[in-house]
Amino acid sequence: MSKKNEKLGYTCAYTPLALIDAAGYTPYRILPMSECPDQAGQLLHDNLCPHVKRILDRAISKDLPDLNGVVLMNSCDAMRRLADAWERVRPADRIILLDLPATADDAAVAYFAGELARLTESLSEWSGGNITDSDIKTSIQRYNQLPALFAKLRERLRQGKLAGDSTRMQTLYNEAMMTPFEISARSLKQAAAEPVSKSPQSNGVPVFLFGNVLPDPEALTFFESCGARIIEDDLCTGSRLFTPMELGENQDLLLQISRSLLTRPPCARTFDPGQPLKMAEDILARARTSGARGVIGQTIKFCDPYLDRLPAVRKTLRQAGIPLLLLEGDCSLRSIEQQRTRIEAFIEMID
């Protein structure tokens, strides 16, 4: 099945990386990091998610490696429009858009498994070979190594003993999002094998960071320069992408992948109707477990799934007596740097 190092683009943390790997491709996360000019506004309005628009900028500017295809998720309005706009600006690209239910009940899991079957068919067609259950199982086992390795490093980060701190962590996340499994696994194993060090920034104030897209490692360096020590994250460009998949015997593999993806720590767009706004409780629980003294919520502008749920997060953390700082940005370091005074004041307050 190997397509050597051919890449397949993706943009969302709900993408089944193991399936792409099983087809012999390297999953390549198209991150909103680029110096290319702003052009997406020709097709997408100013008030649409800057994450999506930056990705479209990269597509328009051809600021991408060779991609054998692109897998997009219908995770929100903006991602839906990205699929439409991508087809307009790069009509020759192979592209598939998967429907992603907003809930994780049994019917939704079964439906999403059907969408994964559709993806498997497309991947087979694109790669010119059948993807067998054995291929998928092998890839799941491979990709299950990453969360375990990340968990070790996160624990070290939480204790302030990861050399390079959260900046290093983000660099490792980015590598795992964009390079072949073997390379990222090797990097992670090397990092995990390093002697436990006293982190140079360990005197920073421990902070839990949540939100959606913040892939630039320099952004983490910036937080640390403001006196924060990011000890744990809940970001779709961070810990949320690498969670283990349970592999049961004699069970449908796609159903298992579907359940694993839909029940992983959710982006705001996925929720349990039986426990409305549970996201706020989840953030509180993770902040408490991490030992953080405060929480920073970093979301991108115009992201309705987050914007409409942040009031609940704010209320829950306030009631629990946990300080919260909410920041909005456009995925660029520039937009975060403008908030230095606020961040420093927040860190001073919780120190």
Partner: protein, 368 residues
């Protein structure tokens, strides 16, 4: 307060209709039913469900549920010029101004106890991510059960089956709350009513395509958006018939909606709900007539009364705001041809990812 407002409105409209009951009075009949819905929502005597836009309201009507999409309240408050304090309330609670104005108004109204407390809520993933987030907030605020319909993007056998099964599960959910099972006989009758209203509405839209058009920029405002709320009832049939009679008479007698109609326009998505002079200005200054609205169209097939769930699922999937932009543009192009349009207006409400999200793509698509 709101109950009295809607009741007075309904009484007033009814009295006006009775002044000359032989006239078709389409707009009055449409407004009357809307006011009646408002008074039912606020009466405190009915089982109320707040819903998403793509819910099969005919099914809920059969089950005796007074149901409505939440944006209706936002629109009603905007139309009466009373939305500001609710927007402020929502913003003070942390709902930022970059999000949808309808939804912020609704959240503010709910927080200020202006929204009737529902018995339960039914959300739909179509048309927008913001809408479903607000339904989750309302479920939490009212501490009521929430059911979610995941509306797939495309009409395929698998997608229709998935949504049809969810609609069946929705019926069970409603039954659990009301204790009343669905009456299959009444459902068949309701679906037949829906199909009758559908057919007459199709004829109404065909009449509106005449040059000059018998409609003006006001008569069919919000029509395609609000009529689904009445689907399954005789009222929907009666309203549609009144429009057909009015338009037929106008066409037969050569009475245009806008005198000396010069430009024919399409309104994309839904209208501006607050009081504004735009339609009047277009008519007076430019003799421009909004002859078509994106949602004023029949985009679904008749539903099989013997097996209605797949048809209801297809209808939800077919909503023009759902699915790919290519499909949406195709629909707009169809309207452009059918209505002989000269142009289109796309109101880019700042907080609406649906309205603005595809602005450039739609603009491009309509040029060709």
């Amino acid at each position: 307060m709101m109950y009295q407002y809607f009741k007075d409105m309904a009484d007033g409209i009814e009295a006006k209709i009775l002044q000359d009951p032989n006239l078709p009075n389409p707009r009055k009949k449409y407004a009357l039913e809307t006011a009646r819905l408002g008074s039912r929502l606020y009466s405190g005597n009915n089982t109320v469900a707040w819903c998403g836009l793509a819910v099969p309201f005919d099914l809920l009507n059969v089950m005796g549920i007074t149901s409505c999409f939440v944006e209706f309240v936002g629109a009603a408050l905007a139309a009466t010029g009373t939305a500001d304090p609710f927007l402020e309330e929502a913003e003070q609670a942390g709902f930022v101004g970059d999000t949808c104005g309808y939804h912020r108004t609704v959240m503010g109204a709910a927080r200020k106890n202006i929204m009737p407390e529902p018995d339960f809520l039914i959300a739909t993933t179509c048309p927008c991510s913001g809408g479903i987030a607000i339904m989750e907030n309302l479920a939490d605020l009212f501490n009521k059960d929430l059911f979610v319909l995941n509306v797939p993007q495309e009409d395929s056998e698998q997608n229709v089956a998935y949504l049809a099964d969810q609609i069946k599960a929705m019926v069970e959910f409603v039954t659990r709350h009301t204790g009343e099972p669905l009456d299959e006989g009444k459902l068949r009758q309701a679906v037949e009513n829906t199909n009758r209203a559908r057919k007459i509405m199709e004829e109404v839209y065909q009449l509106a395509q005449n040059v000059p058009s018998p409609t003006d920029g006001r008569l069919l405002t919000n029509f395609g958006l609000v009529m689904p709320l009445f689907c399954g009832t005789e009222a929907a049939v009666e309203i549609a018939q009144a429009y057909k009679d009015e338009f037929t008479a106008r066409v037969n007698n050569g009475i245009p909606g806008v005198p000396d109609e010069k430009l024919r326009l399409l309104w994309i998505q839904n209208r501006i709900q607050f009081d504004n002079p735009l339609v009047e200005l277009l008519e007076k200054e430019y003799r421009a007539n909004i002859v078509s609205d994106e949602l004023n169209d029949i985009f679904w097939d008749p539903i099989d009364p013997q097996d209605p769930y797949p048809g209801m699922a297809r209808r939800a999937i077919a909503i023009p705001l759902n699915g790919s932009i290519q499909r949406r543009i195709g629909h707009l192009q169809k309207l452009a041809r059918a209505y002989n349009l000269d142009g289109a207006i796309n109101p880019c409400n700042w907080g609406c990812r649906q309205g603005t999200g595809a602005r450039g793509l739609i603009s491009d698509g309509l040029r060709y």
